[in-house]
Subunit: 156 residues, 3 copies
């Protein structure tokens, strides 16, 4: 891992979080490969190998469908969200890409409300080189808090 590659990796993480926090949801699928997978799952289920997930998508097309849902059809109280993400740890690098992990906390603020912790946990990621740069082939967001205040509309 040299600096150039580390910087590209970190930028992928930071740009991903910034796009979501700006609610620029249309950009979200572009952080993934065409067959990229995304899963949002409780730590309790992840640790036990149980399949139930809060969100699970298996292609960029499914991600785009979710963006349409979140932006156009789900009726919800408006809120801001903000990621604070630790520097990713590189767990391994192989023919199928980089496997990385990062801790995160997402803080939600509703209008005229105090900030509250919406989600806290870690991401487990597989990242691959593409002609457009590094992209997520898999992103699994494992959240510690199985009780979510209200509901999660936007991706984490």
């Amino acid at each position: 891992m040299n600096f150039e590659r580390w910087h590209a990796l970190h930028s992928l993480y930071a740009d991903y979080a910034a796009a979501l926090d700006a609610r620029d949801l249309a950009r979200w699928p572009d952080f993934f490969t065409d067959d990229g997978r995304y899963k949002l799952q409780s730590r309790e289920n992840f640790d036990r190998g149980l399949p139930l997930a809060m969100l699970a998508f298996e292609s960029k097309a499914m991600l785009k469908d979710r963006v349409f849902g979140a932006a156009e059809t789900i009726y919800h109280d408006p809120y801001h969200q903000r990621h604070v993400v630790g520097v990713p740890r590189v767990l391994s690098e192989g023919a199928d890409g980089l496997r990385c992990e990062a801790s995160y906390v997402v803080i939600r603020t509703k209008r005229d409300g105090l900030p509250e912790i919406l989600s806290v946990g870690r991401t487990l990621d597989r990242i691959v080189d593409t002609p457009q740069g590094l992209r997520f082939a898999e992103r699994c967001v494992v959240f510690d808090n199985d009780l979510v205040p209200n509901s999660i509309v936007d991706p984490i």
Copy 2:
């Protein structure tokens, strides 16, 4: 962006946060150029291009004046604050400096109280080279939570 420059940039961010968290307010203006600007503004106003800001200073002399105010004249319940700051994203680099963005959360703890989120949001910064190293020519702190628990005394 090579490692040396990235490290200098990151150190500016980290040293800034550490000085404030240690309540070493006298050092705060020194992170800015002589005509450095500092603004603390709600995301709601920032996004709409409205001018109202919670704090707005247009020179290092104004920053020093604020330090005097915060340290010597404002009567307030004592508290500790702690920044946790994401690694800055470099948005562009040009003749007028580096434009960067970073997410932050500031956690406040009052004596005998539980920690609470005081402010969460991002900084939008313009950073320039000076003979003393990298300094903020502009720092705009855009906070998500328009409702602030109690009040903000020290800079963010």
Copy 3:
């Protein structure tokens, strides 16, 4: 400080946090030298130079004893914890190692509960080269919140 060394340093911090957040307590002593010291102390006492600490250990053997206590003997409500750690600042490098500081927040989630801030503060560390890589010769965790919700079982 070149990139390779910075990366090793950051990895020490990130691996330490990940091991604790995975509750892989048996690994915790291995982040220290044989005579490594660990202290968990309130900012109030640290700032005044008072000796009272919540935890204080003076060797790897004492750390192992604590792991046994935390894992096997202390009866407590189960919880998950999650560190989000800022990038460490290198304060100095000398014959006795690297002196570094990093901000942290630890978020605790109890089963069926909302996440809450368990501890927030900074670590003051002395890190040395060993044949196994970088290790903590001293880690002093100084927490801002002298009021701890419930109690701290696992190390921070």
